[in-house]
């Protein structure tokens, strides 16, 4: 990965992290998990798969460090999410809506995994009030953001203006 790509990815993750803990944590109607979405969409780029996994791990670790949940929980979950994205990315390359749907489904898998692993490690707050809402609204919000942003994001990272231009 070139330095410029690394800086772009780092900057995007930082913006996602700050927006996640400020803007979207206060909204009740629209609650995407932006950091998870960035990790998912990185699976569509030309960055080496091992690096995408590592970025997923580090991103999750950063979210863990800024929160109160056990350290390593999101690092593990985001790594698995990145792996799922890499393994299924061919299926996302059909159309804009399919890409968004794909991102929403992987987000759903990520949230379920987060709740399961978190509960195993005593993070009962993840099962708090609104757990069903989260399982529904976070993937839908990620789907919408992915529908708008995913192609643009891939073009920006890969610096390939032809990427994800569905005929």
């Amino acid at each position: 990965m070139r330095l410029r790509t690394a800086l772009t990815v780092g900057l995007l993750l930082l913006v996602a992290l700050v927006l996640q803990t400020t803007l979207f944590s206060q909204l009740e109607v629209f609650t995407p998990d932006l950091v998870m979405l960035v990790v998912i969409v990185l699976g569509l780029t030309k960055i080496r798969p091992e690096l995408v996994l590592a970025i997923g791990f580090v991103s999750g670790l950063a979210v863990d460090l800024l929160g109160t949940a056990v350290l390593g929980l999101r690092a593990m979950v985001f790594t698995v999410v990145a792996f799922l994205a890499l393994r299924t990315r061919e299926r996302a390359d059909i159309g804009r809506f399919v890409t968004a749907l794909w991102a929403g489904l992987i987000t759903l898998a990520g949230i379920v995994l987060l709740i399961l692993v978190g509960t195993l490690f005593g993070q009962t707050v993840l099962l708090g009030e609104g757990v069903v809402d989260r399982l529904v609204f976070v993937p839908i919000a990620n789907l919408i953001v992915a529908w708008i942003m995913a192609p643009l994001f891939v073009r920006l990272i890969d610096r390939d203006t032809t990427a994800f231009r569905y005929a």
Binding site: F24, Q26, V29, L44, F57, L65, L86, F121, V125, L126
Partner: protein, 306 residues
């Protein structure tokens, strides 16, 4: 277009990272968030807090506008009910001012002096909330006098939670509704504890009670609490309940919804840390005490928060 496929090294990398994650989780759980991990967390928060402050400055008006648009119907009703409440409270305020004037007169007559028990208060803005965790990040830290363990209330004086982590420029507050600790409370002259529950914001209220309690009764922090000064409102009893064997368990609805807070107040309590240490040693245990009255003896528990 997608020229690369996951290579052979993807799976080993995944397994390595998962093992590393598991090790981190185990280490964090065993060290109970302290030690090296606590320092690293503080460092990360120190780096990101200025960006969160800047983002909160720009974002809060947008959030308020979106909230207003989505809740416009309920806001009108709320506005009307608040206007009525303001009228009632203004009448109460007049009565309280009369009482204060009378109190001042009596203090002058009997040459009484204030004990200086007023607590230091630091008003802080909520600048972030880690996703799905319920904690609050505030824009005041150790450089503003904030310390771990200090109680946090909302601008109306209702209990929010306590400070769990501090950096020079920010702090993390764990609300009572998501923390793991009990909080010692009182309903009337009966004492007990409230505990967070899974799946709901309503908390469980356990009391050493001789008398029934009614829905709507006010729950306040008790003098047995080592985490909060006494008398601060926590919530209200959610359902009528009667004691069985001098014990009562019901539910309490907290007054505060932490996720809606924009501003909180951190109390400089306890004022004397030495007293706090002594209090912790003497009141955090739950011990049976026996009282003998007119030849009959009763056993009860002294509730503190843990």
């Amino acid at each position: 277009m997608l020229s690369r496929q996951p290579g052979d090294r993807t799976l080993p990398t995944l397994i390595t990272l998962l093992v590393l994650g598991l090790l981190l989780m185990t280490f964090d759980v065993r060290s109970e968030g302290g030690g090296v991990i606590g320092v690293v967390r503080s460092g990360a928060q120190t780096i990101v807090a200025p960006m969160q402050k800047a983002a909160a400055f720009a974002v809060n008006p947008v959030v308020d506008m979106i909230d207003s648009l989505t809740n416009v119907a309920s806001l009108r009703e709320q506005n009307l009910s608040l206007q009525k409440r303001v009228a009632v409270l203004e009448a109460d305020l007049v009565a309280v001012n009369d009482d204060l004037a009378r109190l001042e007169l009596y203090e002058q007559l009997y040459a009484l002096e204030s004990t200086g028990a007023a607590l230091g208060r630091t008003v802080a803005q909520v600048i972030g909330q880690p996703a799905l965790e319920g904690a609050l990040i505030i824009d005041k830290g150790s450089s503003d006098g904030i310390a771990v363990g200090q109680p946090v209330i909302d601008p109306n004086g209702y209990v929010v939670g306590s400070v769990a982590q501090v950096t020079p420029g920010s702090a993390t507050v764990i609300p009572i509704t998501v923390g793991r600790n009990h909080l010692a409370v009182a309903v009337g002259n009966q004492t007990g504890t409230v505990v967070p529950q899974i799946d709901t914001d309503v908390m469980r209220l356990d009391l050493d009670a001789q008398e029934p309690i009614l829905a709507g009764e006010r729950v306040v922090t008790s003098s047995g609490s080592v985490r909060f000064p006494s008398g601060y409102p926590v919530g209200q009893v959610a359902a009528d309940a009667a004691p069985t064997n001098d014990f009562l368990s019901t539910e309490m609805t907290p007054y505060v919804r932490p996720d809606t807070l924009r501003v909180v107040v951190v109390l400089a309590w306890p004022p004397d840390p030495v007293t706090a240490v002594t209090d912790t040693e003497t009141t955090t245990t739950t011990s049976p005490t026996t009282t003998t009255t007119n030849g009959s003896s009763t056993t009860s528990t002294t509730a503190g928060d843990g």
